[in-house]
Symmetry: C2
Subunit: 368 residues, 2 copies
């Protein structure tokens, strides 16, 4: 059997630093668990522009299409702010998402007990929170035509079009139901079927996919505004939430903020199953490239390491190893290890990016 | 000088009960402050259907158009669930909003210190919160054409259209800036100008209205997803938020839930200025008709009384009297008066709807 393949794209800013810690974790799995990956590496974002004049070369795009999973650090930085739109660092990321057709964006909102105090929510509301928002990522109002600013009589009118086909809804619904089966078997679908026809179709199709393919999963429907309320009131009532691109944009960010530790959150973007049964997949931390602290050994590598844990679970079918890695992170945090971003107003002495990575490796050792 | 005119539409369920307490407040203003209103009363919702076969008669609609402000209780109830869509209780409400062209929906998110424990947020995050969300209410994706579910090749597609003209944005922006001048002089406008052309136009027009008409007001812009985050993180950073129909739907409900006391919140829906300079206006509590407790004297009248306070401030230019009324409510709550909905898990003995109204009148007396 061949090893699973992984393309690492560290990117810009703190990307390379946090990715170096992921490499320690990957090495540990080879040494101690006999779990090996064929790892390749490439450039994306500003660092690719610096070398190749483009934020993503065709060669790297091709490589991304051929591997089992892509793990990306972060892209962007102030030195690229004035580049032409077509070669901005973010275009590299968007090209990956688009050409790999990554339609299901998985945004976990997890709260480690040790960090619950960082939330604006009361501790009992947020401690132990573990929900997953599945956001449709390649269609909806951010992509629909017609769009633009048009002249109409004496004034202008701004127009965007929300647009979902049955098959677009079906495939992201399947992603959500598959996920729920690996979790607590509950899906809540959110739309505005009370006032939007696209929401009526969304609800109908999600229900049909459920009834015909996933009758074992518990399905509920909620209007997206009520969903926003319930996320603020008692987020633990949810397991998997599936929603469209626009609602998912707001709800996933609100849910992320509820955890209070935005810099800790991983994400996955999944597409259709490939010939080997694995989904097209890209994993990346939610945080950005943080140019202000880049190169100083201050960055928190946990979001990137948790993104690798998601790859273990969703691309490589190694849920137990993902759980082991998450538990190691939980233990390190419970023991009090803190990078600078995790220090509260009372202060304390932060450890470095590398020290955090080493602490997680040590906790992995202790897990054996 | 003629008295300002007020049309009271108690509606269904707990509507008449809570409105009876507002009548006590109105009487108090006449007796003790020599502030008089020409009050008329009408039917809306199920009670109108029962008598007239329609949730709103043309006569009542005409009356609503002729008065200075409408104060509505609540509409709906299970006995009307199977009525034809066209005569459902909610249609009465929608007809009022539409024919009066109430384009600016004002949704305050206020948290009384005495009730801060009800919030899922930490007390310091929410105590004393007082922000106002201005939601565009008559245009945007809930109204734009084309809309529907259409056949396209082998499958169906659900379509809705986000659509804003410059003048639609201008008028709601003006509402927000006017409001800010009466408050803390700060407006934050929210859209997704990074991915939506309608958001680009929104931002441009709000900025232009600011620069040409309200340069004294502090204006900022925020992407709506970041806005959702910031509302969850530190809502007190805001004063007035202005946003479109869709984003406002989610953000105003999320903000309301943050206060923890959904049953306490008033709202106003304002339209264009009338000949006398007052805006077309309808005031109503955010809560519904609560048929499960109707007629039992258990309902909390505060949201409806706070809606009348908004009428004092925004229709009748009696901001000082509105503040007096709000302070009276604050005092009553601080003194421990609680209707059943305000009892926490530790219980206690609730007072009745009428007792709460009487307590507020007594606090008004004490304010003199
Ligand atoms: Mg977002
Ligand atoms: Mg709503």
């Amino acid at each position: 059997m061949t090893n699973p393949s992984l393309l690492i794209l560290p990117g810009d800013g703190i990307g390379p630093e946090v990715m170096a810690e992921v490499r320690k974790i990957i090495a540990w799995y080879g040494d101690k668990r006999d779990v090996h990956f064929d790892v390749s590496e490439g450039l994306v974002g500003g660092c690719s522009y610096d070398v190749h004049g483009t934020p993503l070369t065709d060669e790297t795009m091709e490589l991304a299409q051929s591997v089992d999973a892509v793990l990306l650090g972060a892209v962007g930085g102030p030195q690229y702010d004035n580049l032409d739109f077509s070669v901005k660092p973010e275009r590299g990321l968007l090209r990956l998402r688009k050409e790999m057709d990554l339609y299901a964006n998985l945004r976990p909102a997890q709260c480690f007990d040790a960090l619950a105090d960082f939330s604006s929510l009361k501790k009992d509301v947020v401690a132990g929170l573990d929900i997953m928002i599945v956001r449709e990522l390649t269609s909806g109002i951010y992509f629909g035509e017609p769009r633009g600013i048009f002249k109409e009589g004496n004034e202008r009118v701004g127009i965007n079009t929300q647009r979902y086909t049955e098959s677009e809804i079906e495939r992201v619904a399947r992603s959500a139901f598959e996920l729920a089966r690996r979790r607590n078997n509950k899906v809540c679908s959110m739309e505005k079927a009370n006032v939007m026809e696209s929401g009526i179709l969304w609800r109908e199709v999600v229900q049909r996919v459920h009834d015909t393919e996933y009758p074992d999963v518990q399905l509920s429907h909620m209007y997206a505004d009520a969903g926003a309320m319930q996320l603020c009131r008692w987020p633990k009532q949810f397991d998997v939430i599936v929603t469209d691109n626009l609602f998912g944009d707001l709800l996933s960010d609100a849910a992320a903020m509820l955890t209070g530790s935005l810099g800790m959150l991983p994400s996955a973007s999944l597409g259709a199953p490939m010939a080997n049964g694995r989904p097209k997949a890209m994993y990346e931390p939610v945080h950005g490239s943080a140019p202000d602290i880049a190169g100083q050994g201050k960055a928190n590598p946990i979001a990137c390491i948790l993104s690798f844990a998601m790859a273990l679970r969703y691309s490589f079918d190694m849920g137990d190893e993902a759980t082991r890695l998450e538990a190691a992170i939980e233990k390190v945090l419970a023991d009090g290890a803190r990078t600078g971003d995790l220090l509260g107003p009372e202060g304390g002495s932060p450890i470095s990016t590398a020290q955090m990575g080493d602490a997680i490796v040590a906790a992995l050792d202790a897990s054996l």
